[in-house]
Amino acid sequence: MRIGRQTYVIDYGHLALITLIAGAVFWYLFDARSVSLSVNNLLLVQPVAIFALAMYLFILPQCFRKVDAVAAPRAGGEKDPFAIEVSTGHSDIIRMVALGVSLGLMVFLLDVIGFDIAIFLFAAAAMAICGERRPVHLLVFSLAVTLVTIYGFRALISYPMPTTLL
């Protein structure tokens, strides 16, 4: 993107993330204000929300970087000691995304196809994503995980777990 004489690169992912957060914050503030304008309701929520939106505006320019700045090597500032290093290799990212998607599928299908089937399918999928290819191992271990967790948690919690087969 060009503005004037300067070329900028837009970090769309970052932009989407903070805009999503700011959108959620704005909606939350709007929702809270629509409930009541009483101090008892807005005492903390309103200032914190406004602060968050201000931070959004402050961070926004960081999503646009000058091209020559991008080309320059990133300054080796102090790394966040709590950030866990996320691997950036291409196949690694595919694996992580695949695992995330299977987790999501399991979570939303628990009630639909039953806990037993959802857990079994997820366990098998997760093993395959992690590199297990031997069919016997896949079947046996997934089955074991399913049986142990279903019966184990049934004994632990009083909530019903809808299952299809077990």
């Binding site: 992912g13 970052h14 993330l17 957060i21 959620a24 914050v25 909606w27 939350y28 809270a32 409930v35 009541s36 009483s38 101090v39 008892n40 309701n41 005492l43 903390l44 929520v45 914190v48 929300a49 602060f51 968050a52 931070m55 959004y56 961070i59 102090e78 966040d80 000691p81 709590f82 950030a83 866990i84 290093e85 996320v86 691997s87 690694d92 694996r95 992580m96 695949a98 695992l99 995330g100 987790l103 999501g104 399991m106 979570v107 939303f108 628990l110 806990f115 997820f122 366990a123 997760a126 093993m127 994503i129 992690c130 590199g131 271990f141 967790t149 948690f153 632990l156 919690i157 909530y159």
Partner: protein, 524 residues
């Protein structure tokens, strides 16, 4: 202070009911195992075994339940250290350095540090309890919203030690977390941000959200590795190293003491529990440490600080329960129920009329902490073997267990769905270098911040001078600011010293380079 005759009677109760001691080891194991399952909190572990205890006689039942409580207080740190999943909010601060240590292959030592910090401070907490149970109870009732608000702010100070690359991103993450923590019905009865979903009336379930945020950044990336730790040599499970960690704990009496004091006081406050004590203890230890830069990268002091506050908090929480009949947290609420089910109502009259029994319960807790030393070593020895299992087996099992654990929190799909949504959020935040921990702190403390701030406002009628009527709150703020100022001063001195040293080093290097090519500059 301690009542000697009652104490002697208490010893009598202890030794005449030796049969009930048999429940200590099973109780500890139940507590350790349940709380090591992500999502199963101390409260839930105790709720699960409560019906079982109905069939025992009173002292056995209490011994059994308090053993579960003691064991569960430590169990949560095992997944926190090995896999970066805090089983409950109280082991959140343990992940900071515990997991970093285990990534360096020092998981044996880290677990040893955690175990000893936990047991030693547990014992310290109960010993202190024995002495001051009655005065403590009166102080606890006097702690009002302003004091609690000061404590919550202190907890938020942890953010300062998260040390993100971008301060603005850390602040946005924290503000977002606080707002997430206030979703639902607030203490004045206003409902916000629920999207019309009844499950959100009580707010976003913090345990699934926390596991989701942290798991996404860690568990999903495990898919790219063959083992939890890459280096083959570091995967060993070594009793010698565990014991080395245990023993090493003794080298930090200052950290243990500070953690214990913070833990006891905060644990004693009804409704706070130990979920905030570990954050404050960690932040304070880091701030005052000379080597604060290594915190978060596997400094044992971080593990010790966090665990000591959790364990001693149990004693504080127990004091409130025994002396006032008020639960300090969910776990003590269940203990009260157990007391009532044996027709005993804890509270002021119970302490007056049954002091020997109160002492016997406290003494038994000390015994449990000592037994935990042995049982705990065995437990971590077994649990550490997870390091030797390939991720293709560990990962599916852990993810399934975490999902079911969050289901157990809410009793419906809302728990797992929260886990998943926050996993996505956590991944995105991590990707763009936002400190996920700041969001977690916000979620854990947001509700408390709002509630106590609001009550302070209501109580004072909006007059800020009200704080002058609350000396305790002023004291907390004073200690907090003094601690901040002192570290800022210390940091300045340290920075100056470092700058001078760097300058000297540079000069040395220049000289060395100028003199000869074969002299290598020594590393600072």
């Amino acid at each position: 202070m301690i009542d000697i005759t009652a104490f002697n009677d208490a010893l009598g109760i202890m030794f005449t009911s030796v049969g009930s001691w048999g429940w200590i080891v099973p109780g500890l194991i139940v507590g350790l195992v349940f709380s090591a399952i992500p999502g199963i909190s101390i409260t839930m572990a105790m709720a699960i075994v409560l019906p079982m205890s109905l069939y025992m006689d009173f002292f056995s039942a209490i011994v059994f339940l308090t053993s579960v409580y003691t064991g569960a207080g430590f169990g949560g740190s095992v997944p926190a250290i090995l896999m970066n999943i805090p089983g409950s909010p109280s082991s959140f601060a343990t992940t900071f350095d515990g997991y970093a240590m285990s990534q360096k292959g020092e998981h044996n030592e880290a677990l040893g540090y955690a175990l000893f910090a936990s047991t030693l401070c547990g014992i310290a907490g109960y010993l202190l309890l024995l002495l001051v149970i009655e005065p403590l109870a009166d102080i606890v009732l006097r702690i009002g919203p302003v004091e609690m608000f000061a404590v919550a702010i202190w907890g938020m100070m942890l953010l300062g030690s998260l040390g993100s690359t971008y301060i603005s991103r850390g602040l946005l993450a924290a503000a977002f977390g606080i707002l997430l923590g206030t979703v639902g019905m607030n203490t004045a009865g206003f409902t916000r941000g629920t999207l019309g979903l009844p499950v959100l009336l009580d707010g976003i379930a913090p345990i699934p959200a926390m596991i989701g945020l942290l798991a996404a950044s860690q568990l999903l990336s495990l898919a790219t590795r063959d083992y939890i730790i890459e280096a083959e040599g570091s995967r060993e499970v070594s009793l010698r190293k565990i014991l080395k960690g245990c023993w090493g704990t003794m080298k930090y009496p200052g950290v243990l003491l500070r953690g214990s004091i913070i833990g006891i006081i905060i644990g004693a406050v009804p409704g706070v529990g130990s979920s905030i004590g570990n954050l404050i203890a960690y932040a304070e230890t880091k701030r005052t440490a000379k080597d604060s830069a290594t915190f978060g990268k596997g400094n044992p002091k971080g593990v010790i600080a966090a665990e000591s506050a959790v364990a001693s908090g149990e004693g504080g929480s127990m004091a409130t329960m025994l002396a006032l009949g008020i639960p300090g947290g969910g776990a003590t609420a269940i203990l009260i129920a157990a007391f009532m089910m044996h027709n005993i109502v804890p509270g002021p009259s119970f302490i007056e009329t049954q002091k020997p029994m109160v002492y016997a319960i406290i003494l038994n807790n000390i015994v449990q902490a000592i037994v935990l030393l042995a049982v705990g070593i065995g437990f971590i020895y077994v649990a550490s073997n997870i390091m030797k299992v390939r991720t293709r087996y560990v990962l599916p099992a852990i993810l399934v267990i975490a999902t079911l654990g969050t289901y157990a929190v809410t009793g419906e799909a809302a728990g797992p769905i929260t886990l998943f949504v926050f996993a996505l959020l956590g991944y995105a935040l991590n990707r763009y270098e936002y400190p996920v921990s700041a969001v977690v702190v916000g979620i854990l403390l947001g509700r408390m911040l709002e509630t106590e701030f609001l009550r302070s406002y209501q109580l004072s009628g909006g007059n800020p001078m009200y704080i002058l009527e609350r000396p305790a709150a002023m004291a907390i703020f004073a200690v907090m600011f003094a601690s901040l100022a002192m570290t800022a001063w210390g940091k300045r001195k340290q920075n100056r010293a470092e700058a001078a040293e760097a300058l000297a080093m540079e000069r040395l290097r220049d000289e060395a380079a100028a003199n000869a090519a074969h002299t290598t500059p020594s590393k600072g």
